[in-house]
């Protein structure tokens, strides 16, 4: 599996889980479908960016740092659009970025490796 694909799959799965946890917040429960969809798209975007970064740069610490920055930035944009829940959105988004950053560096084949 290529690094961008790992990023997309992991980003989508964790993003969807992230969105589903909104079920436990009664105030936004009626918007659950939209939140899950948005969160999944956010995860996929983060996964693509982190996956392509991992394909270009082979460094675990830098990959994790990039994942954290992308995850936090995208989550911040979502929180900004929501106009609240900063901690509840940014913290999980950052950790999702960290996990995807780690996984794309550690697993998957880059194009150069796959061809060799």
């Amino acid at each position: 599996m290529s690094k961008p694909l790992i990023g997309v799959v992991l980003g989508a799965v964790l993003g969807a889980i992230d969105g589903l946890t909104a079920f436990f917040t009664p105030a936004v429960r009626d918007q659950l479908a939209g939140i899950v969809f948005g969160s999944t798209i956010k995860g996929i975007i983060a996964g693509i960016a982190i996956g392509f970064f991992a394909k270009k740069f082979h460094s675990l610490p830098i990959g994790i740092l990039f994942g954290v920055i992308i995850g936090a930035f995208l989550a911040f944009l979502v929180a900004l659009m929501q106009g609240g829940y900063y901690l509840q959105i940014i913290l999980p988004g950052t950790i999702v970025g960290l996990i995807v950053g780690f996984a794309t560096q550690k697993y998957g084949t880059s194009a150069a490796t796959a061809n060799s």
């Binding site: 889980i17 946890t21 917040t25 901690l87 913290l91 999980p92 960290l98 996990i99 780690f102 550690k106």
Partner: protein, 315 residues
């Protein structure tokens, strides 16, 4: 009558047992070791000014025909150019008729000594894998070692692995039939079914002296015994299964080649499933978790943080 002192007697014994290298370019230095089939000496190559290990075979009553065949076999073994196979530099005959091989003198420790030091299991497995690769190379060139054991494997000072003592190796021709073997042919040992090798590391067919049955799977059996020796302290189920498969009584139940055994060791080192052991679902999950411990910890931390957030943000 004058009695000789023990010291003098021992000195005379040593002088008598020393090989006569006068007709060769080697100078005897000291004895390195002795086995049932011959002795190994440290000598200096005067022409190239380097140390060599010389193995002298206990075959003084050799015929000309056998000598030619043994030298031919030695040439074939000398052709095995692999970083894991100790190179044979020279072969010849001593004035008393015994055949000798001059080999690279390897500084380091034998695998049995190495294993008693603080080598980790993974390190031992990596060394073992290197042994398998060297043996697989020899098999690919039609040579079967037949005396693989920890005492015949050296770990060099830089961690390199070298398989020694190809003196009882068997060469198989393209049709798969046995030609001759240097030491055994000299005394017709395999021809009449006499046992060659080391009992604890010997395959059943080798122990029976069943020369027609001996093929690369006999070496696979010996490799399994070496692996068992290396994993004496608490081997895992998977490692035990690899040993059992390699040491199966019937050759057809063993790994078909040393390469297959090496591949299973590589999988074991990479925490991948091995061909010798069928895991249940729980073992599969455990292995995956053990292999991906950090990722699992990250995901668990994420889920824990999620749960904390759910409870702390409730009105």
């Amino acid at each position: 009558m004058k009695w000789l002192s023990d010291d003098r007697l021992n000195h005379l014994r040593t002088l008598v047992s020393e090989p006569d290298f006068s007709s060769t370019k080697y100078t005897f230095l000291k004895e390195l070791g002795r086995g049932g089939m011959g002795a190994v000496y440290l000598a200096e190559d005067r022409e190239l000014n380097r140390l060599v290990a010389i193995k002298v075979l206990n075959t003084p009553d050799i015929t000309d025909d056998l000598r030619r065949r043994m030298i031919r076999e030695a040439q074939i073994i000398a052709g095995l150019e692999h970083p894991g196979i100790v190179p044979v530099h020279d072969v010849g005959t001593l004035p008393d008729g015994r055949i000798f091989y001059a080999m690279k003198y390897v500084r380091g420790s034998r695998l049995d000594e190495y294993a008693t030091q603080s080598a980790s299991v993974n390190d031992r497995l990596r060394k073992f894998q290197a042994v398998c690769d060297a043996v697989a190379f020899a098999h690919a060139h039609g040579v079967i070692h037949r005396d693989l054991k920890p005492q015949n494997i050296m770990i060099g000072s830089f961690g390199e692995v070298l398989v020694l003592d190809w003196g009882v190796a068997k060469v198989v021709d393209e049709r798969g039939s046995i030609r001759v073997s240097p030491r055994s042919s000299a005394s017709n040992q395999t021809m009449d079914g006499t046992v060659i090798g080391t009992r604890d590391y010997m395959s059943p067919e080798q122990a029976r002296g069943d020369v027609e049955q001996i093929d690369e799977r006999s070496d696979v059996y010996s490799l399994g015994a070496v692996l068992r020796f290396l994993l004496t302290d608490k081997p895992t189920k998977t490692a035990k299964a690899i040993c059992s498969k390699a040491m199966a009584h019937a050759p057809e139940s063993r790994y078909a080649s040393a390469s297959e055994l090496s591949a299973d060791i590589a999988r074991l080192l990479d925490s991948e499933p091995v061909s010798a052991y069928r895991e249940n679902a729980f073992e599969k999950v455990s292995r995956w978790v053990a292999k991906n411990r950090f990722l699992v910890l990250l995901i668990l931390a994420y889920l824990l943080m999620r749960i904390i957030l759910i409870f702390t943000s409730r009105p």
